[in-house]
Subunit: 233 residues, 2 copies
């Protein structure tokens, strides 16, 4: 590129990218201020700001209000996922939602689960399993454990009338959650429920929500084959 | 609950949840101001604010700076994912990253791809396939197409020396991206590359990035079995 290019914000951006790429500016190093760069390139400060904003959004620059801007050590893409309640997710896809309770019973939770949740061994939790349908085709299997210590009155809820997903959103606020996404082969039981071949690749979301330090619920959502979760960067 | 409960922010939150749940406050309706609620509950405005903040974060209330607060129409969980470059993702897992180029060649892209990208039919694109390893075990397969119209100089890059993922982050800024997550059974080729059984459930990320309206690259990342993408709500 030539010096003339730095009259536009894209030209300036290309020059800044070159300096990062060719390690004139090392990862983690402090970048000159917008005011100084504007003087260097002979342009408005707003033009430099425009060039740097996208680079910050793309994770190439680290902007700190007081400490200035540094070349990022770890370039990342930031993705925001808005996970709606299941009924709305189905309806947003233009399909009719239907829900069917498989079982709801108080049971001792597995050691793996109680230790993950920090609950006493053999704690009784409410185990609720259900199927959500889109246009009468299985959409996902909801396999949920609810903390009866925190929500004792959940024992009396009729989960054939309202999904546990929806009831909890309306009745059990949480302060934090751990979520993980993975792929899993359908075992015989899930394959049967989801009307899929055994071993079919399923998209799985595991989520644990916490109210302060107390677990609210742990849920595994196993989506029928072909599901895609779409979003934008 | 009794009136006494509304002395604490959690009591107030329970009361607000009850009003939403029992549809005293309908979805989409305007909620009284914090000042009015503070008078109603006989508490400090900060206490009301504390109660409502979590409900807003949980997607139950919709706060607009000027238009006031409304009951959300679509309660959602908001999840932020920071997707690092692959090398760093491997290193953050405490493993050693290694990379191996499978092929890099200019080829006519499929009709499905060119039409998705808005490129002329049979456009030639750079097809780069590679494997990323963690501690010498296959971590993911990167199958990428790069827009040669936008990035003609990419033809001369040696992708056995730098991964396409890393080169693009350093050289090709983007303004927007579409991303989707899904699960896919491994075909024979992928199973062989990833050292997995044929049909194994793979976690897949498809990503297309755009520079203004022009496509930069389309990539499919297929992770070896057992991969989990973890984050927090």
């Amino acid at each position: 590129m030539t010096i003339a290019d730095t009259n536009s914000w894209r030209g300036i951006q290309a020059e800044l990218l070159r300096r990062i790429n060719e390690r004139e500016w090392l990862p983690g190093s402090l970048v000159p201020s917008e005011a100084d760069l504007a003087i260097e390139f002979g342009c408005a400060r707003a033009t430099v700001n425009r060039a740097m904003r996208e680079m910050a959004d793309a994770g190439l620059l680290d902007r700190k209000r007081k400490a200035g801007t540094r070349v990022a050590l770890h370039p990342t893409s930031r993705v925001v996922l808005d996970i709606p309640i299941i009924r709305l997710e189905v309806e947003q896809r233009g399909a009719e939602w239907r829900y069917s309770l498989i079982e709801s019973s108080a049971e001792p939770a597995s050691l793996a689960l109680t230790s993950r949740l920090g609950l006493p061994r053999d704690s009784e939790m409410l185990h609720v399993r259900s199927l959500h349908y889109a246009d009468n085709r299985p959409f996902l299997h909801e396999d949920r454990w609810i903390n009866l210590d925190l929500l004792p009155h959940v024992r009396s809820v009729d989960f054939s009338a309202i999904s546990a997903n929806e009831w909890l959103i309306q009745n059990a606020p949480y302060t934090a959650g751990d979520i993980s996404f993975s792929a899993m082969g359908a075992d015989a039981g899930l394959a049967d429920l989801l009307d899929a071949p055994e071993g079919a690749a399923l998209f799985v979301i595991d989520r644990i929500t916490w109210d302060k330090d107390r677990p609210v619920t742990a849920v595994r959502l196993s989506y029928a084959p072909g599901y895609r979760m779409n979003t934008k960067i």
